[in-house]
């Protein structure tokens, strides 16, 4: 061997470099948001942008003072957890069945709700839920948000289920497992990373979706994100408060993501089959 080999050390260095580049691009705006939340409102739009400033928690204080931030947050949590759970509950079996049978129309059907502009649903849903007296209820919000979470769960899990070696399912059948059992005992543990991804995505989408809450909730069940808009308004864009709200709003998904990280470990199907 005459040419110097590319060693593992070099590969590691290259990876690190890419990581740093990606980090800067991805994180700078986020950092800007967090920093802005610590500035007095007017300074957010100051020019040139200030980097050194006296950080203040005043925005956060104002947030909790002027709005029932906590109760909005609880609303959001209830709706998001509810719809994510519902999405997982309906989506996991559906994704499994679609992957098993290779009949994909149920997956496409559930996605149909995502294909239409959200505004299309506002009026009919309002009429529909009003008919059954559920405007303002958590149920209405959870159901409507599940329309968003369900297809995400199904579609994210589809390739994961497809990736499990078929003969593992066959072994389970021979062992006497019904299809449903195979799902819970064999397939589900094997797509843990897929479920983690699906949960994060479903959670984030539900958490950040404001359109449905706009018409289906009322003052009491209003979600955090719908309330966050209130910081933008004529004569009063409260930048500091908005950024503080944004920071706080982004926190729960972030925490969730950090929590389910450990499910994102690799190679669960390792050693299952040879071939």
């Amino acid at each position: 061997m005459t040419d110097a080999p590319i060693t593992d050390a070099w590969i590691r260095r290259l990876n690190l470099l890419q990581l740093v580049v990606a980090g800067i691009i991805v994180l700078t705006p986020t950092l800007w948001m967090v920093l802005s939340s610590l500035k007095p409102s007017f300074e957010v739009t100051a020019y040139p942008p200030t980097l050194i400033f006296a950080p203040t928690l005043e925005n956060y204080a104002q947030l909790t003072k002027t709005t029932p931030f906590l109760s909005y947050a609880i609303n959001s949590l209830i709706v998001t957890i509810g719809s994510t759970a519902l999405g997982l509950l309906f989506g996991i079996p559906a994704a499994f069945a679609v992957s098993w049978t290779r009949i994909s129309w149920p997956a496409i059907l559930t996605l149909a709700a995502r294909m239409a502009p959200g505004t299309l649903f506002l009026l009919p849903w309002y009429v529909m839920f009003r008919q059954v007296g559920m405007i303002g209820s958590y149920t209405a919000l959870i159901l409507s948000h599940a329309v968003i979470t369900l297809p995400i769960v199904i579609w994210v899990l589809l390739p994961s289920f497809d990736g499990i070696p078929r003969s593992v399912f066959e072994a389970a059948q021979v062992d006497g497992c019904s299809v449903t059992r195979i799902l819970w005992r064999i397939a589900l543990p094997l797509v843990a990373s897929g479920v983690a991804v699906a949960s994060i995505l479903a959670f984030v989408f539900s958490w950040n979706y404001f359109l449905f809450a706009l018409v289906l909730s009322n003052g009491d069940s209003k979600t955090l994100i719908a309330a966050a808009f209130n910081f933008i308004g004529e004569g009063s864009t409260q930048w500091g408060a908005l950024m503080a709200a944004a920071t706080l709003i982004a926190l729960p998904p972030l925490i969730l993501a950090a929590l389910v990280q450990r499910w994102l470990v690799s190679g669960l199907t390792l050693g299952a089959v040879k071939g």
Partner: protein, 295 residues
């Protein structure tokens, strides 16, 4: 077991499989059947300014065909869609690979890497509006500090689409990356050992092994991104409201404005149904592709 019993058992498995997808299917149908019928009905009516509605048949649709704003919106939608999708897929796969190889990265840092899409789109839009402000924003400040010419960003009819695409890419690339990351985790590791033995360089391994194996996942990400990108709304709504002029007036923005700013529910319904049909077509096409790239 008699013959009947045998088929019963077989049916039971089919029944079981049907039962697994039933909740999702029934739920979806229950939730969207009425809205779709309702919207179709609305689309066949005209709501005059006096609020009185009258049946107009397909008039809304023929109006649509003759509406230059619709065709322009379609063009803007597609341009934005293609540009954003390509950027996000390419960068998303790259980011996923970077994160995948950074196995020792603490979980919390890794989640920070995917944080942009956790930011509410409204906030992201507001934030970028400030950052990209031609006179006040940090973006031009940085460009000028580096001795580069400032840009008008969102204010230029030429640059508004690329700029919006960039914002969207910043926000949604991590989303694609997360999906791809999930796919990467389930790739058979032994195949990589085989590739090493075959002498594949890092690039070749990516090109010939990782990428083809990831295609089903990438197509999934494409489908999920397509349904959002073709209905591009949030960021434009916050930043340009379809401007400057109508340079960023996507179909969804246009439909929304017709319905909720100009209060023409009938025409808006026709617009949105048309948009839905476009998205549906794209999804069907990609679903085909998904079957083709399965391994």
């Amino acid at each position: 077991m008699s013959k009947a019993a045998a088929t019963f058992a077989e049916d039971r498995q089919r029944l079981e499989l049907a039962a697994l997808s039933a909740p999702a299917v029934i739920f979806t149908v229950a939730m969207i059947a009425f809205p779709v019928v309702y919207t179709v009905w609305l689309g066949l009516h005209s709501f005059s300014s006096t609020g009185k509605q009258s049946f107009v048949g397909l008039a809304n649709y023929s109006r649509l065909l003759a509406d230059a704003e619709f065709w322009h919106g379609l063009w803007v939608t597609i341009a934005l869609y293609v540009l954003s999708l390509v950027l996000q897929l390419v960068l998303g796969v790259w980011l996923a690979l970077v994160l995948f190889h950074a196995k020792r990265l603490p979980g919390i840092v890794r989640s920070l890497f995917i944080s942009p899409f956790m930011m509410p789109p409204v906030v992201a839009g507001m934030m970028w509006l400030v950052i990209l402000d031609p006179s006040l924003g940090a973006a031009n400040y940085i460009l000028q500090s580096l001795g580069l010419p400032p840009s008008e960003w969102l204010a230029s009819p030429v640059w508004v689409i690329p700029t919006v695409a960039l914002i969207d890419t910043w926000q949604w690339t991590p989303y694609v990356a997360l999906i791809v990351l999930g796919g990467l985790q389930s790739l058979p590791p032994s195949v990589y050992e085989a590739a090493q033995i075959d002498g594949a360089s890092a690039f070749k391994t990516f090109q010939r092994i990782t990428l083809p194996l990831l295609l089903p996942t990438i197509v999934t990400a494409t489908i999920l991104r397509s349904v959002d990108l073709l209905r591009f709304f949030d960021i434009i709504y916050i930043t340009t409201q379809g401007g400057p002029g109508n340079a960023s007036n996507t179909l969804n923005i246009y439909g929304f404005r017709v319905g909720f700013e100009f209060f023409n529910i009938g025409y808006a319904s026709a617009l949105m149904l048309t948009l839905t049909a476009i998205v549906f077509g794209a999804v069907l096409a990609f679903n085909r592709l998904r079957g083709a790239v399965a391994w």
